[in-house]
């Protein structure tokens, strides 16, 4: 058995491009997924009955099916309804839908931990419901659950490796391309795996910092 990592590392520009695509996918999915998650978390904890049920059904449906099936459904299934998507758009859409469901549960847990007195105090200051939610309830709620949210975002980033299967040119796709050229499959996937490990460690630090700085910090 002979390993030849140089043959893979020589293709570093492709790996770098792949890693960048993975990061961009993750960044867009994070923003979209958080927005969707906050909306659904609000609907489940505070919304009207029918709205809460719809959000609940969405959350359960997504959390109990594999991401790869969701992705295939979006990419292969939706075109028969006349919705044609590029691989990149389909990947981002599936990631947003996926993260949104998990984020909704996380946000809900945070919202439900809000002390009643704070909401009553905010109402007594004549804030309307929107202000109460956006200014009093949401920021500390996100602060409470941010570590769980960061873990979920990283799970979605790692899950995006599947997007290579519909020809989105992310990291795993590039590794696949490299191994199809030089037949160094094991080495190519080892290198890609280590890059993913690096990305997940870096992303964890970046998100913890970003959370304090932008999402719920003072």
């Amino acid at each position: 058995m002979q390993l030849d990592f140089l043959a893979v590392l020589a293709e570093w520009p492709a790996l770098l491009r792949g890693a960048l695509v993975t990061l961009v996918l993750t960044a867009v999915a994070t923003v979209g997924g958080l927005a969707l998650g906050v909306a659904c978390g609000w609907a489940r904890a505070w919304g009207a009955r029918p709205l809460a049920y719809v959000a609940g059904a969405y959350v359960e449906l997504i959390r109990n099916t594999p991401f790869i099936v969701q992705l295939f459904f979006v990419f292969f299934g939706l075109p028969s309804l006349g919705v044609k998507l590029t691989p990149e758009i389909a990947s981002v859409l599936a990631m947003v839908i996926n993260l949104g469901a998990y984020a909704a549960e996380i946000v809900r847990a945070g919202i439900e931990g809000t002390p009643r007195g704070q909401i009553e105090a905010a109402r007594s200051l004549a804030m309307n419901e929107w202000q109460v939610f956006m200014r009093v309830v949401l920021p500390p709620a996100l602060g409470r659950v941010w570590p769980a949210m960061v873990s979920q975002i990283i799970i979605v980033m790692l899950g995006s490796a599947v997007c290579g299967q519909i020809a989105t040119a992310e990291l795993s796709y590039q590794a696949n391309l490299i191994q199809s050229r030089n037949f160094r499959a094991f080495e190519a996937f080892i290198v890609a795996t280590l890059v993913y490990l690096l990305l997940s460690v870096a992303l964890r630090h970046a998100l913890h910092w970003a959370g304090r700085r932008f999402v719920f910090g003072r």
Partner: protein
């Protein structure tokens, strides 16, 4: 062309779902055994166990399951073993499961108050007795809900085995959709079958958690 009715699609998917269930069970049982050994090595404070098991967990939690499957598939082949997708998928999913379960269970053991360990120590119980009679049963109670919850992750994880050519529910869906040109219908059926597999397990995990919380309240 052969016409596929909805029943034909559903029947073929159901047949393939057997392999999803079997692979999940293998991974869960195998992963549970490996995870338990890792946990015991850690709790018994074997020299280096903390460091190596920690690295092992970080490695599997910080990399995509898809890459782990590829590495098992191509890595075993590189060692000169002629492996089927079955073996590679079972191996990768077992290791993946073991890393997560070892970490979940470690948290459960850590949640047992220190006084329990000290009381067991003062009764001159050895490590095995402490685990079996004092810490184990209490940790098991807390561990049940997250462990059952993780089974859902394992079932969903088996869908990735389709990528290395293991014919289970997702792969069968792809093959049927290629034959029928009805991807919308086929993947909707596939998703519903995963839901039918996973949702009861999720609900079970939640009910265990609720009962535990009520018992403590």
């Amino acid at each position: 062309m052969v016409e596929f009715t909805l029943w034909d699609i559903a029947r073929n998917l159901l047949l393939a779902a057997r392999w999803t269930v079997l692979l999940s069970l293998i991974a869960f049982v195998g992963g549970g055994l490996v995870g338990l050994s890792l946990l015991l090595a850690r709790v018994a404070k074997w020299p280096g166990a903390e460091r190596y098991v920690g690295a092992y967990v970080q490695l599997f939690q910080g990399t995509p399951l898809l890459m782990q499957l590829f590495l098992a598939y191509f890595g075993l082949a590189l060692l000169g073993w002629d492996v089927s997708a079955w073996v590679a998928a079972a191996l990768a999913l077992t290791l993946y499961t073991s890393a997560f379960l070892a970490e979940i269970w470690r948290g459960c053991v850590a949640a047992i108050p220190k006084g329990q360990w000290e009381a067991a120590e003062s009764l001159a119980l050895n490590f095995g007795e402490k685990m079996r009679h004092v810490v184990g049963p209490q940790a098991l109670r807390i561990a049940l809900a997250p462990t059952v919850g993780f089974l859902v992750q394992v079932i969903k994880g088996t869908a990735l085995a389709s990528v290395i050519g293991f014919i289970e529910l997702t792969k069968a869906g792809t093959m049927i959709s290629n034959a029928t040109f009805q991807p919308f219908k086929v993947y909707a059926c596939v998703a519903l079958m995963y839901f039918a597999l996973c949702w009861p397990v999720s609900a079970w995990s939640r009910s265990i958690e609720r009962k535990l919380r009520r018992a403590h309240a």
